[in-house]
Protein backbone atom coordinates (compact mmCIF):
# COMPACT_ATOMS: atom_id res chain seq x y z
CA UNK A 1 0.00 0.00 0.00
CA UNK A 2 2.92 2.30 0.70
CA UNK A 3 4.30 1.49 -2.75
CA UNK A 4 0.91 2.22 -4.37
CA UNK A 5 0.60 5.50 -2.49
CA UNK A 6 4.13 6.81 -2.91
CA UNK A 7 5.71 4.71 -5.72
CA UNK A 8 8.62 4.26 -3.33
CA UNK A 9 9.81 1.52 -1.02
CA UNK A 10 8.64 1.54 2.55
CA UNK A 11 12.21 0.75 3.63
CA UNK A 12 13.89 3.18 1.23
CA UNK A 13 15.03 0.20 -0.85
CA UNK A 14 15.97 0.60 -4.50
CA UNK A 15 13.42 -0.69 -7.03
CA UNK A 16 15.15 -4.01 -7.95
CA UNK A 17 15.63 -4.85 -4.25
CA UNK A 18 11.85 -5.11 -3.86
CA UNK A 19 11.62 -8.02 -6.33
CA UNK A 20 11.56 -11.51 -4.81
CA UNK A 21 14.85 -13.33 -5.33
CA UNK A 22 14.69 -15.36 -8.52
CA UNK A 23 11.56 -13.55 -9.79
CA UNK A 24 11.47 -11.24 -12.82
CA UNK A 25 8.72 -8.93 -11.67
CA UNK A 26 7.06 -7.66 -8.50
CA UNK A 27 3.53 -6.31 -8.66
CA UNK A 28 1.02 -4.73 -6.33
CA UNK A 29 -2.63 -4.12 -7.18
CA UNK A 30 -5.23 -2.15 -5.31
CA UNK A 31 -8.79 -0.97 -5.72
CA UNK A 32 -9.90 2.37 -4.37
CA UNK A 33 -13.02 4.45 -4.59
CA UNK A 34 -12.52 7.98 -5.91
CA UNK A 35 -15.45 10.30 -6.56
CA UNK A 36 -17.77 7.35 -5.88
CA UNK A 37 -16.21 5.19 -8.62
CA UNK A 38 -14.09 2.08 -8.15
CA UNK A 39 -10.61 2.46 -9.68
CA UNK A 40 -8.00 -0.26 -10.12
CA UNK A 41 -4.38 0.76 -9.55
CA UNK A 42 -1.41 -1.44 -10.27
CA UNK A 43 2.33 -1.02 -9.89
CA UNK A 44 4.80 -3.46 -11.37
CA UNK A 45 8.53 -3.46 -10.89
CA UNK A 46 11.11 -5.07 -13.11
CA UNK A 47 14.87 -4.62 -13.26
CA UNK A 48 14.25 -2.05 -16.01
CA UNK A 49 12.06 0.13 -13.79
CA UNK A 50 8.63 0.83 -12.47
CA UNK A 51 5.32 0.88 -14.37
CA UNK A 52 2.02 2.10 -13.01
CA UNK A 53 -1.47 1.73 -14.43
CA UNK A 54 -4.89 3.06 -13.58
CA UNK A 55 -7.77 0.87 -14.77
CA UNK A 56 -5.33 -1.03 -16.97
CA UNK A 57 -4.02 2.08 -18.75
CA UNK A 58 -0.82 4.04 -18.24
CA UNK A 59 -1.62 7.51 -16.91
CA UNK A 60 -0.03 10.52 -18.66
CA UNK A 61 2.33 11.09 -15.79
CA UNK A 62 2.96 11.14 -12.08
CA UNK A 63 0.55 14.05 -11.40
CA UNK A 64 -2.37 11.92 -12.71
CA UNK A 65 -1.33 9.04 -10.46
CA UNK A 66 -0.93 11.15 -7.34
CA UNK A 67 -4.14 13.08 -8.05
CA UNK A 68 -5.96 9.77 -7.68
CA UNK A 69 -3.98 7.99 -4.99
CA UNK A 70 -3.25 10.06 -1.94
CA UNK A 71 -1.54 8.34 0.94
CA UNK A 72 0.44 9.51 3.94
CA UNK A 73 2.48 7.09 6.02
CA UNK A 74 4.08 7.41 9.40
CA UNK A 75 7.00 5.06 9.89
CA UNK A 76 9.58 4.93 12.70
CA UNK A 77 12.28 6.31 10.36
CA UNK A 78 10.21 9.53 10.03
CA UNK A 79 11.85 10.71 13.23
CA UNK A 80 14.90 11.41 11.10
CA UNK A 81 12.89 14.14 9.33
CA UNK A 82 13.30 16.18 12.48
CA UNK A 83 16.80 15.28 13.63
CA UNK A 84 18.40 13.59 10.62
CA UNK A 85 20.14 14.86 7.48
CA UNK A 86 18.62 17.70 5.39
CA UNK A 87 17.78 15.55 2.34
CA UNK A 88 15.01 13.82 4.34
CA UNK A 89 13.54 17.18 5.31
CA UNK A 90 13.70 18.43 1.70
CA UNK A 91 11.99 15.23 0.57
CA UNK A 92 9.15 15.73 3.07
CA UNK A 93 8.74 19.35 1.99
CA UNK A 94 8.78 18.61 -1.74
CA UNK A 95 6.39 15.66 -1.48
CA UNK A 96 3.99 17.56 0.76
CA UNK A 97 4.16 20.69 -1.43
CA UNK A 98 3.41 18.54 -4.47
CA UNK A 99 0.36 16.99 -2.77
CA UNK A 100 -1.10 20.48 -2.44
CA UNK A 101 0.07 21.86 -5.78
CA UNK A 102 0.52 19.34 -8.64
CA UNK A 103 2.40 21.90 -10.79
CA UNK A 104 5.25 21.75 -8.26
CA UNK A 105 6.41 18.45 -9.76
CA UNK A 106 7.15 20.08 -13.15
CA UNK A 107 9.01 22.96 -11.49
CA UNK A 108 11.08 20.61 -9.31
CA UNK A 109 11.93 18.48 -12.36
CA UNK A 110 12.97 21.57 -14.35
CA UNK A 111 15.24 22.62 -11.49
CA UNK A 112 16.77 19.14 -11.27
CA UNK A 113 17.57 19.08 -15.01
CA UNK A 114 19.10 22.59 -14.92
CA UNK A 115 21.16 21.56 -11.86
CA UNK A 116 22.44 18.37 -13.55
CA UNK A 117 23.36 20.31 -16.70
CA UNK A 118 25.20 23.01 -14.77
CA UNK A 119 27.01 20.40 -12.67
CA UNK A 120 28.12 18.65 -15.87
CA UNK A 121 29.42 21.97 -17.25
CA UNK A 122 31.38 22.69 -14.05
CA UNK A 123 32.69 19.11 -13.75
CA UNK A 124 33.90 18.93 -17.37
CA UNK A 125 35.58 22.29 -17.16
CA UNK A 126 37.42 21.27 -13.98
CA UNK A 127 38.41 17.86 -15.39
CA UNK A 128 39.71 19.28 -18.67
CA UNK A 129 41.35 22.26 -16.94
CA UNK A 130 39.76 24.76 -19.31
CA UNK A 131 37.81 27.93 -18.45
CA UNK A 132 34.01 27.79 -18.67
CA UNK A 133 32.35 29.56 -21.62
CA UNK A 134 30.85 32.58 -19.73
CA UNK A 135 27.71 32.66 -21.90
CA UNK A 136 27.10 28.95 -21.28
CA UNK A 137 27.46 29.49 -17.53
CA UNK A 138 25.13 32.49 -17.73
CA UNK A 139 22.32 30.56 -19.44
CA UNK A 140 22.45 27.57 -17.10
CA UNK A 141 22.56 29.97 -14.14
CA UNK A 142 19.52 31.71 -15.60
CA UNK A 143 17.59 28.42 -15.89
CA UNK A 144 18.74 27.36 -12.42
CA UNK A 145 17.75 30.66 -10.80
CA UNK A 146 14.32 30.87 -12.45
CA UNK A 147 13.32 27.31 -11.59
CA UNK A 148 15.14 27.46 -8.23
CA UNK A 149 13.26 30.59 -7.16
CA UNK A 150 9.97 28.83 -7.95
CA UNK A 151 11.06 25.82 -5.87
CA UNK A 152 11.98 28.04 -2.91
CA UNK A 153 8.76 30.07 -3.25
CA UNK A 154 6.51 26.97 -3.36
CA UNK A 155 8.33 25.37 -0.44
CA UNK A 156 8.02 28.45 1.77
CA UNK A 157 4.43 28.94 0.67
CA UNK A 158 3.71 25.37 1.77
CA UNK A 159 5.38 25.94 5.16
CA UNK A 160 3.33 29.13 5.61
CA UNK A 161 0.08 27.19 5.09
CA UNK A 162 1.31 24.16 7.00
CA UNK A 163 2.57 25.89 10.17
CA UNK A 164 -0.83 26.74 11.76
CA UNK A 165 -2.19 23.25 10.97
CA UNK A 166 0.93 21.68 12.47
CA UNK A 167 0.59 23.82 15.62
CA UNK A 168 -3.02 22.73 16.05
CA UNK A 169 -2.14 19.01 15.78
CA UNK A 170 1.09 19.26 17.74
CA UNK A 171 -0.61 21.02 20.64
CA UNK A 172 -3.04 18.12 20.98
CA UNK A 173 -0.40 15.41 20.79
CA UNK A 174 2.04 17.08 23.18
CA UNK A 175 0.03 17.89 26.27
CA UNK A 176 2.91 19.70 27.89
CA UNK A 177 4.18 21.58 24.83
CA UNK A 178 6.47 24.39 25.82
CA UNK A 179 6.14 27.39 23.56
CA UNK A 180 4.99 28.01 20.03
CA UNK A 181 6.13 25.74 17.20
CA UNK A 182 7.61 27.46 14.15
CA UNK A 183 9.17 26.37 10.86
CA UNK A 184 12.18 28.24 9.59
CA UNK A 185 13.33 27.83 5.98
CA UNK A 186 17.10 28.06 5.83
CA UNK A 187 19.18 28.24 2.74
CA UNK A 188 20.14 30.15 -0.34
CA UNK A 189 17.77 33.07 0.20
CA UNK A 190 17.44 35.37 3.24
CA UNK A 191 14.27 35.73 5.31
CA UNK A 192 13.43 39.18 3.91
CA UNK A 193 13.51 38.06 0.29
CA UNK A 194 11.44 34.99 1.19
CA UNK A 195 8.71 37.23 2.59
CA UNK A 196 8.82 39.61 -0.40
CA UNK A 197 7.70 37.05 -2.98
CA UNK A 198 8.98 35.42 -6.15
CA UNK A 199 10.78 38.41 -7.78
CA UNK A 200 12.78 39.10 -4.62
CA UNK A 201 13.60 35.40 -4.22
CA UNK A 202 14.80 35.30 -7.84
CA UNK A 203 16.98 38.40 -7.35
CA UNK A 204 18.45 37.07 -4.08
CA UNK A 205 19.13 33.63 -5.54
CA UNK A 206 20.74 35.25 -8.61
CA UNK A 207 23.09 37.23 -6.36
CA UNK A 208 23.92 34.12 -4.33
CA UNK A 209 24.67 32.05 -7.46
CA UNK A 210 26.84 34.81 -8.93
CA UNK A 211 28.79 35.12 -5.66
CA UNK A 212 29.42 31.36 -5.63
CA UNK A 213 30.92 31.32 -9.16
CA UNK A 214 34.59 31.14 -8.17
CA UNK A 215 33.97 28.48 -5.52
CA UNK A 216 31.86 26.42 -7.92
CA UNK A 217 34.50 26.57 -10.65
CA UNK A 218 37.13 25.43 -8.16
CA UNK A 219 35.06 22.57 -6.73
CA UNK A 220 33.45 21.49 -9.99
CA UNK A 221 29.83 21.41 -8.79
CA UNK A 222 26.96 23.71 -7.77
CA UNK A 223 27.13 24.95 -4.20
CA UNK A 224 24.31 27.53 -4.32
CA UNK A 225 20.66 26.65 -4.80
CA UNK A 226 17.62 25.07 -3.16
CA UNK A 227 19.07 21.56 -3.59
CA UNK A 228 21.16 22.35 -0.50
CA UNK A 229 18.47 24.18 1.47
CA UNK A 230 17.05 22.97 4.76
CA UNK A 231 14.32 23.85 7.22
CA UNK A 232 14.12 23.50 10.94
CA UNK A 233 11.39 23.15 13.47
CA UNK A 234 11.67 25.36 16.52
CA UNK A 235 9.59 24.97 19.63
CA UNK A 236 9.66 27.88 22.05
CA UNK A 237 12.45 29.42 19.96
CA UNK A 238 14.77 26.42 20.26
CA UNK A 239 15.57 24.12 17.36
CA UNK A 240 14.06 20.71 18.11
CA UNK A 241 16.83 19.04 16.13
CA UNK A 242 19.43 20.04 18.73
CA UNK A 243 17.38 20.45 21.90
CA UNK A 244 14.44 18.07 21.52
CA UNK A 245 14.13 14.89 23.60
CA UNK A 246 13.38 11.63 21.82
CA UNK A 247 9.71 11.95 22.87
CA UNK A 248 9.48 15.52 21.53
CA UNK A 249 11.07 14.52 18.24
CA UNK A 250 8.60 11.61 17.91
CA UNK A 251 5.59 13.81 18.63
CA UNK A 252 6.81 16.43 16.16
CA UNK A 253 7.33 13.88 13.37
CA UNK A 254 3.90 12.36 13.95
CA UNK A 255 2.32 15.84 14.04
CA UNK A 256 3.92 16.58 10.69
CA UNK A 257 2.33 13.52 9.11
CA UNK A 258 -1.08 14.13 10.69
CA UNK A 259 -0.78 17.82 9.75
CA UNK A 260 -0.15 16.77 6.15
CA UNK A 261 -3.44 14.83 6.24
CA UNK A 262 -5.40 17.67 7.82
CA UNK A 263 -4.08 20.23 5.33
CA UNK A 264 -4.75 17.94 2.34
CA UNK A 265 -8.32 17.44 3.54
CA UNK A 266 -8.85 21.19 4.03
CA UNK A 267 -7.46 22.05 0.60
CA UNK A 268 -8.93 19.25 -1.52
CA UNK A 269 -11.80 17.98 0.61
CA UNK A 270 -10.40 14.46 0.37
CA UNK A 271 -8.52 12.89 3.26
CA UNK A 272 -5.55 10.77 2.20
CA UNK A 273 -5.24 7.15 3.26
CA UNK A 274 -3.15 6.99 6.43
CA UNK A 275 -0.67 4.18 7.04
CA UNK A 276 0.72 3.74 10.53
CA UNK A 277 3.52 1.27 11.02
CA UNK A 278 3.53 0.07 14.61
CA UNK A 279 3.17 3.59 15.96
CA UNK A 280 1.49 2.62 19.19
CA UNK A 281 4.66 1.17 20.61
CA UNK A 282 6.32 4.51 20.01
CA UNK A 283 3.84 6.64 21.95
CA UNK A 284 2.81 6.84 25.59
CA UNK A 285 -0.83 6.00 26.44
CA UNK A 286 -1.94 9.66 26.58
CA UNK A 287 -0.45 10.58 23.19
CA UNK A 288 -1.71 7.35 21.72
CA UNK A 289 -5.29 8.00 22.86
CA UNK A 290 -5.17 11.52 21.47
CA UNK A 291 -3.84 10.26 18.15
CA UNK A 292 -6.68 7.77 17.82
CA UNK A 293 -9.32 10.41 18.57
CA UNK A 294 -7.70 12.74 16.00
CA UNK A 295 -7.84 10.06 13.35
CA UNK A 296 -11.50 9.28 14.13
CA UNK A 297 -12.33 13.01 13.85
CA UNK A 298 -10.61 13.20 10.47
CA UNK A 299 -12.78 10.35 9.17
CA UNK A 300 -9.71 9.09 7.36
CA UNK A 301 -9.23 5.53 6.27
CA UNK A 302 -6.39 4.34 8.48
CA UNK A 303 -4.34 1.17 8.32
CA UNK A 304 -2.33 0.32 11.41
CA UNK A 305 0.08 -2.50 11.98
CA UNK A 306 0.78 -3.49 15.54
CA UNK A 307 2.12 -6.43 17.51
CA UNK A 308 -0.06 -5.62 20.55
CA UNK A 309 -3.76 -4.98 20.05
CA UNK A 310 -3.93 -3.24 23.48
CA UNK A 311 -1.77 -0.47 22.08
CA UNK A 312 -4.60 0.63 19.81
CA UNK A 313 -6.72 2.29 22.52
CA UNK A 314 -9.79 1.92 20.35
CA UNK A 315 -13.22 0.46 21.08
CA UNK A 316 -13.54 -3.04 19.67
CA UNK A 317 -16.26 -1.97 17.22
CA UNK A 318 -14.25 0.96 15.86
CA UNK A 319 -11.98 -1.09 13.63
CA UNK A 320 -11.65 -4.28 11.62
CA UNK A 321 -8.66 -6.49 12.19
CA UNK A 322 -6.67 -9.07 10.29
CA UNK A 323 -3.83 -11.31 11.36
CA UNK A 324 -0.61 -11.54 9.43
CA UNK A 325 1.17 -14.87 9.79
CA UNK A 326 4.15 -15.85 7.65
CA UNK A 327 3.15 -13.29 5.06
CA UNK A 328 -0.51 -14.42 4.80
CA UNK A 329 -3.46 -12.23 5.77
CA UNK A 330 -6.50 -13.78 7.46
CA UNK A 331 -9.60 -12.23 9.11
CA UNK A 332 -9.31 -12.05 12.88
Amino acid sequence: MYLLGTLKSFRRARGPDMILKGAEVASVKGRLVAGGLPRDCAVSLTKKGLQFKIDGKSPRGLPDWFALIKAVAFVPSDLRMVDGPPDLRREFLDRAAFTLDPTFLGIAREYRVALKQKNALLRDSKRMGRPIDPTMLEIWNDKLVRAGAQVVHRRTEFLRQFAPVFREVHKGITAAAKGRAEFRYRGCVGTEALADGISSIEAALGTKVAAAAAQEARRGFCVAGPHRDDWELRVGGEPLRSFGSQGQVRSAALSMRIGQMVLAKRVSGVCPLFLLDDVSSELDPHRNAHLMSLLLDLEAQVLITTTHRDNLRLDAGAYKSWNVRTGTLSPD
Binding site: R60, E110, A120, E138, I139, A147
Partner: protein, 198 residues
Protein backbone atom coordinates in the same frame (compact mmCIF):
# COMPACT_ATOMS: atom_id res chain seq x y z
CA UNK B 1 37.78 -17.80 -33.54
CA UNK B 2 35.92 -18.12 -36.81
CA UNK B 3 36.01 -15.14 -39.19
CA UNK B 4 33.02 -16.35 -41.19
CA UNK B 5 30.37 -13.77 -42.16
CA UNK B 6 27.43 -13.43 -39.72
CA UNK B 7 24.11 -15.01 -40.55
CA UNK B 8 22.30 -12.45 -42.82
CA UNK B 9 19.05 -12.66 -40.88
CA UNK B 10 20.83 -12.17 -37.56
CA UNK B 11 22.71 -9.20 -39.03
CA UNK B 12 19.42 -7.67 -40.22
CA UNK B 13 17.88 -8.08 -36.73
CA UNK B 14 20.98 -6.51 -35.20
CA UNK B 15 20.89 -3.48 -37.52
CA UNK B 16 17.14 -2.96 -37.14
CA UNK B 17 17.45 -3.02 -33.35
CA UNK B 18 19.86 -0.06 -33.60
CA UNK B 19 16.92 2.11 -34.73
CA UNK B 20 15.31 4.36 -32.09
CA UNK B 21 12.30 2.76 -30.37
CA UNK B 22 13.04 -0.71 -31.78
CA UNK B 23 13.95 -3.45 -29.31
CA UNK B 24 15.25 -6.89 -30.22
CA UNK B 25 11.74 -8.46 -30.29
CA UNK B 26 10.35 -5.87 -32.72
CA UNK B 27 13.54 -6.07 -34.78
CA UNK B 28 13.10 -9.84 -35.11
CA UNK B 29 9.44 -9.44 -36.12
CA UNK B 30 10.35 -6.78 -38.70
CA UNK B 31 13.19 -8.89 -40.10
CA UNK B 32 10.93 -11.93 -40.62
CA UNK B 33 8.29 -9.69 -42.20
CA UNK B 34 10.89 -8.32 -44.64
CA UNK B 35 12.03 -11.84 -45.56
CA UNK B 36 8.48 -13.14 -46.00
CA UNK B 37 7.09 -10.23 -48.06
CA UNK B 38 7.77 -10.53 -51.79
CA UNK B 39 9.95 -7.74 -53.11
CA UNK B 40 10.18 -5.83 -49.82
CA UNK B 41 13.83 -6.69 -49.17
CA UNK B 42 14.78 -5.49 -52.68
CA UNK B 43 12.72 -2.28 -52.38
CA UNK B 44 14.18 -1.53 -48.99
CA UNK B 45 17.75 -2.13 -50.04
CA UNK B 46 17.26 0.05 -53.16
CA UNK B 47 15.82 2.85 -50.99
CA UNK B 48 18.64 2.56 -48.48
CA UNK B 49 21.25 2.65 -51.25
CA UNK B 50 19.56 5.71 -52.80
CA UNK B 51 19.48 7.46 -49.41
CA UNK B 52 23.14 6.67 -48.86
CA UNK B 53 24.12 7.98 -52.27
CA UNK B 54 21.75 10.91 -52.68
CA UNK B 55 20.67 12.34 -49.31
CA UNK B 56 22.78 14.70 -47.26
CA UNK B 57 22.75 18.00 -45.43
CA UNK B 58 21.90 21.29 -47.12
CA UNK B 59 25.03 23.43 -46.93
CA UNK B 60 22.99 26.55 -46.08
CA UNK B 61 20.39 25.47 -43.49
CA UNK B 62 21.53 21.87 -42.65
CA UNK B 63 18.13 20.41 -43.51
CA UNK B 64 18.28 16.75 -44.57
CA UNK B 65 17.61 16.77 -48.33
CA UNK B 66 18.44 15.08 -51.62
CA UNK B 67 19.66 18.30 -53.20
CA UNK B 68 22.06 21.02 -52.12
CA UNK B 69 20.80 23.68 -51.53
CA UNK B 70 17.61 22.01 -50.24
CA UNK B 71 14.25 22.83 -51.88
CA UNK B 72 13.42 25.35 -49.13
CA UNK B 73 16.70 27.28 -49.53
CA UNK B 74 16.35 27.12 -53.31
CA UNK B 75 12.74 28.40 -53.34
CA UNK B 76 12.82 31.99 -54.72
CA UNK B 77 9.32 32.73 -53.38
CA UNK B 78 10.40 32.47 -49.75
CA UNK B 79 11.43 35.55 -47.77
CA UNK B 80 15.17 35.95 -47.22
CA UNK B 81 14.94 38.34 -44.28
CA UNK B 82 13.63 35.95 -41.63
CA UNK B 83 15.06 32.65 -40.39
CA UNK B 84 13.40 30.11 -38.11
CA UNK B 85 15.87 28.13 -35.98
CA UNK B 86 14.91 24.54 -35.10
CA UNK B 87 16.63 21.65 -33.33
CA UNK B 88 16.18 18.98 -36.01
CA UNK B 89 14.79 18.32 -39.48
CA UNK B 90 11.47 16.81 -38.21
CA UNK B 91 10.83 20.13 -36.38
CA UNK B 92 11.47 22.01 -39.64
CA UNK B 93 9.02 19.73 -41.44
CA UNK B 94 6.35 20.27 -38.76
CA UNK B 95 6.62 24.07 -39.04
CA UNK B 96 6.74 23.96 -42.83
CA UNK B 97 3.67 21.68 -42.98
CA UNK B 98 1.71 24.21 -40.92
CA UNK B 99 2.12 26.59 -43.88
CA UNK B 100 2.20 29.68 -41.65
CA UNK B 101 5.88 30.47 -42.16
CA UNK B 102 7.31 31.43 -45.54
CA UNK B 103 10.83 32.39 -44.54
CA UNK B 104 14.00 30.27 -44.36
CA UNK B 105 15.11 27.72 -41.78
CA UNK B 106 18.26 26.85 -39.87
CA UNK B 107 18.70 23.39 -38.33
CA UNK B 108 20.98 23.33 -35.26
CA UNK B 109 21.30 19.52 -35.22
CA UNK B 110 20.62 19.32 -31.48
CA UNK B 111 20.56 21.36 -28.28
CA UNK B 112 23.16 22.43 -25.77
CA UNK B 113 23.54 19.69 -23.18
CA UNK B 114 26.70 19.55 -21.05
CA UNK B 115 25.45 16.21 -19.66
CA UNK B 116 25.79 14.70 -23.14
CA UNK B 117 28.98 16.62 -23.85
CA UNK B 118 27.23 18.88 -26.40
CA UNK B 119 28.55 22.43 -26.39
CA UNK B 120 28.14 25.37 -28.81
CA UNK B 121 30.85 24.01 -31.16
CA UNK B 122 28.85 20.81 -31.68
CA UNK B 123 25.83 22.69 -33.07
CA UNK B 124 25.45 24.76 -36.26
CA UNK B 125 25.78 28.01 -34.33
CA UNK B 126 28.79 29.50 -36.16
CA UNK B 127 26.93 28.99 -39.44
CA UNK B 128 23.84 30.74 -38.01
CA UNK B 129 25.93 33.72 -36.92
CA UNK B 130 27.40 33.92 -40.41
CA UNK B 131 23.89 33.98 -41.92
CA UNK B 132 22.82 36.74 -39.50
CA UNK B 133 25.94 38.74 -40.32
CA UNK B 134 25.00 38.42 -44.00
CA UNK B 135 21.87 40.51 -43.27
CA UNK B 136 18.66 39.27 -41.63
CA UNK B 137 15.74 41.18 -40.09
CA UNK B 138 14.53 38.53 -37.66
CA UNK B 139 15.52 35.19 -36.14
CA UNK B 140 12.70 33.08 -34.69
CA UNK B 141 13.94 30.65 -32.05
CA UNK B 142 11.77 27.53 -32.36
CA UNK B 143 13.67 25.07 -30.17
CA UNK B 144 11.48 22.75 -28.08
CA UNK B 145 10.08 24.03 -24.76
CA UNK B 146 12.35 21.72 -22.73
CA UNK B 147 15.03 22.83 -20.27
CA UNK B 148 17.72 22.19 -22.91
CA UNK B 149 15.68 23.78 -25.74
CA UNK B 150 15.04 26.89 -23.66
CA UNK B 151 18.69 27.13 -22.62
CA UNK B 152 19.79 26.84 -26.26
CA UNK B 153 17.40 29.64 -27.27
CA UNK B 154 18.67 31.77 -24.41
CA UNK B 155 22.27 31.16 -25.55
CA UNK B 156 21.45 32.10 -29.15
CA UNK B 157 19.57 35.22 -28.05
CA UNK B 158 22.63 36.41 -26.07
CA UNK B 159 24.84 35.83 -29.09
CA UNK B 160 22.54 37.25 -31.77
CA UNK B 161 21.04 40.35 -30.15
CA UNK B 162 24.34 42.30 -30.14
CA UNK B 163 24.41 41.78 -33.93
CA UNK B 164 21.36 44.07 -34.23
CA UNK B 165 18.90 41.43 -35.44
CA UNK B 166 15.39 41.06 -33.96
CA UNK B 167 15.27 37.81 -31.95
CA UNK B 168 11.93 36.21 -31.07
CA UNK B 169 10.88 32.98 -29.34
CA UNK B 170 7.82 30.92 -30.33
CA UNK B 171 4.90 31.21 -27.87
CA UNK B 172 3.85 28.37 -25.60
CA UNK B 173 0.57 27.45 -23.96
CA UNK B 174 -2.63 25.55 -24.61
CA UNK B 175 -2.71 23.85 -28.03
CA UNK B 176 -5.28 25.01 -30.58
CA UNK B 177 -8.27 22.63 -30.53
CA UNK B 178 -7.20 21.16 -27.19
CA UNK B 179 -9.64 20.93 -24.32
CA UNK B 180 -8.50 22.53 -21.08
CA UNK B 181 -9.96 19.58 -19.19
CA UNK B 182 -7.31 17.31 -20.72
CA UNK B 183 -4.39 19.76 -20.63
CA UNK B 184 -1.67 19.06 -18.08
CA UNK B 185 -1.25 21.32 -15.06
CA UNK B 186 2.18 22.72 -16.09
CA UNK B 187 0.92 23.80 -19.53
CA UNK B 188 -2.15 25.49 -18.03
CA UNK B 189 -0.01 27.21 -15.43
CA UNK B 190 2.42 28.47 -18.14
CA UNK B 191 -0.48 29.60 -20.35
CA UNK B 192 -1.90 31.63 -17.47
CA UNK B 193 1.48 33.21 -16.70
CA UNK B 194 1.89 34.22 -20.35
CA UNK B 195 -1.71 35.37 -20.90
CA UNK B 196 -2.30 38.42 -23.08
CA UNK B 197 -4.91 41.14 -23.25
CA UNK B 198 -7.48 40.89 -26.04
Amino acid sequence: MSDSAPDPLEALVHHLSRLPGIGSKTATRLAYHIVRTDGLAGDLSDSLAAVREGVGRCSICFNVASSDPCPICADPKRGDDIVCVVERTPDLQAIDRAGAFRGRFHVLEGTLSPLDGIGPDDLRIKELIARVAGGLDEVILATNPTVEGDATSLYLARLLKPLGVKVTRIARGVSVGAELEYTDASTISRALQERREI
